[in-house]
Symmetry: C2
Subunit: 321 residues, 2 copies
């Protein structure tokens, strides 16, 4: 049983995966679980529970989506809400899927063909569309962790997550962009795009349909934001042309990241409007990328106030080379 | 010059310390700056710019507060607000001080005498009271990073920070506890305390004046919360009796953390009501402690949704031994 719990003070949810509760001793340095033996994502592995695939000419999968074997949320079950005194909880219902991005073990988004990356994005879009139909879910994320600091597995893969709550970061983005719209009758992300294109001091890459830039208020050194030109709230509404263009755009971006930043570990997430939310006019889907360069803890976790040692204009200049 | 920048969408501030901007190459693995030579916090080091001290019988400092040599905010200057197109910025005015907690290099909060820890807390309270008088500041934090994963220096020390903005985490706590008060006419933290004392399944330590427990919605394995019994919004209003009791309470807590969790790196922060804020009735100061055990990135940074592999009830039981 997986359990969702809400903080009694702030709008913050956590999940406790009870049945696969970690061993306490396994948490300590030098005792972390290391994946051994054959790669579970290579074509030779068993993939009995296919959820979705894109096939090649020979009928073999090129991109394969399977359930995560250790999901942080469970697909089966109804959404039950419960109180424990003053505390609020919920059953941990949700989807947690793995996208196996290619048959080739030794690839990454910096080396993969742009077309293959386009297929991965098409899988994201299709799974996202399909999961949106499930009335239990309120937010869908596609996320990728790359490199030894971020992921236990090296075969190219990413995650699709459908949550029964709207998590805090998305609540705040929806609220912030709605406030801006009420005040200005414009989308804040569209305004950001216009201002960035006009000055381009923070621009890292540009295609016909996408802008890649280091945000004005970057939290982390070399943080990147990828934004479609077209105002669209939901990633699942991307056109075929946008998906193809984005494949090339991300291929270029991650090649730059690899070459200019010594192939760092990174995390990537796609932010899309919450399901059945009335903010289509004010929200604008986008991708956030965080290279993992700084390891020392700061005050960020306890305050939400970030210290970034590299100004984003300097970061963009370095990335442009 | 230090610059503060606000995210255009969400209420999130970052600071860019321009003059001590990090070298880009220094960010990469194996190239991080390591502190060399003599410890800058030992009594033999130069401490010319004393801000505050508590002296022993022989007139030597027992606890010493000095400016941070690489402050994330600058004490001098006026608070200037400026727009850059749609973006909002501010001059990076604030206080960043180092509390040198003892003359002895090889101590920690797990080994230090409770009385000495009480002196550290008295220094926190006194500096906090003094900084509250500065009209430029809106929030004050005391924070400690311990261990190789969290800090570059091993001599016992901590930070005092005064910020010209209320950072996001505190904004949310103030709003959340005010909402609860409006609804129930009670302090949410007092209600948490009552419920935890009644069940005690998450209790780790208890004194006459403080409760230490693993929060119901813990974000991290073995996260801890220290809360005063008395309803008081501002840490600076702590009585001498509370400060002395808290010294013993934290000594016990960190001895448990060291012994039961293999002396982990950790971060600690004191959350207190923002300055000149009218939420004295609904806010309740407290301490948050995060042992750094899990190193893999999750979805937390991109969603604000946390996966905690260890239920807090299991964590509390393990800590109680």
């Amino acid at each position: 049983m997986v359990e969702l719990r809400r903080d009694p003070v702030v709008e913050r949810w956590i999940t406790i995966p009870r049945e696969r509760a970690a061993s306490i001793e396994g948490l300590f340095p030098g005792k972390q679980e290391v994946s051994r033996g054959a790669c579970p994502f290579c074509p030779t592995a068993m993939h009995e529970r296919e959820i979705y695939s894109i096939k090649d000419d020979q009928g073999r999968w090129s991109v394969l989506v399977v359930p995560d074997l250790r999901p942080i949320l469970e697909m089966e079950g109804t959404l039950e809400r419960r109180a424990k005194g003053i505390y609020d909880g919920m059953s941990g219902v949700g989807a947690h899927e793995i996208v196996i991005e290619t048959r080739e073990h030794n690839q990454s988004w910096a080396t993969m063909a742009a077309d293959q990356l386009g297929l991965v994005l098409r899988a994201y879009r299709d799974r996202s569309s399909q999961l949106r139909g499930d009335k239990r879910f309120r937010a869908i994320f596609m996320a990728k962790n790359y490199g030894g600091m971020a992921s236990r597995f090296s075969h190219p893969h990413s995650h699709v997550l459908a949550l029964p709550i709207v998590p805090r970061t998305l609540v705040e983005e929806v609220q912030g962009s709605e406030d801006y719209f009420q005040y200005k009758e414009r989308c804040v992300w569209c305004d950001v795009k216009e201002q960035e294109l006009a000055k381009s001091e923070r621009t890292v890459a540009l295609t016909d349909r996408f802008l890649v830039h280091t945000p004005y208020a970057s939290r982390y050194p070399f943080e990147l934001n990828v934004m479609p030109f077209r105002h669209v709230a939901d990633f699942a509404s991307s056109t075929d042309e946008e998906i193809a263009d984005l494949g090339g755009c991300l291929r270029t971006t991650f090649e730059i990241v690899k070459n200019r930043l010594h192939d760092p570990s990174y995390s990537m997430i796609i932010h899309s409007v919450p399901l059945r939310n009335a903010s289509e006019h004010s929200y604008h889907w986008h991708i956030e990328i965080r290279p993992q360069l700084t390891s020392l803890a700061g005050f960020e976790w306890g305050t939400g106030f970030f210290t970034n040692p590299i100004p984003p204009e300097v970061a963009a200049q370095h990335l442009r080379g």
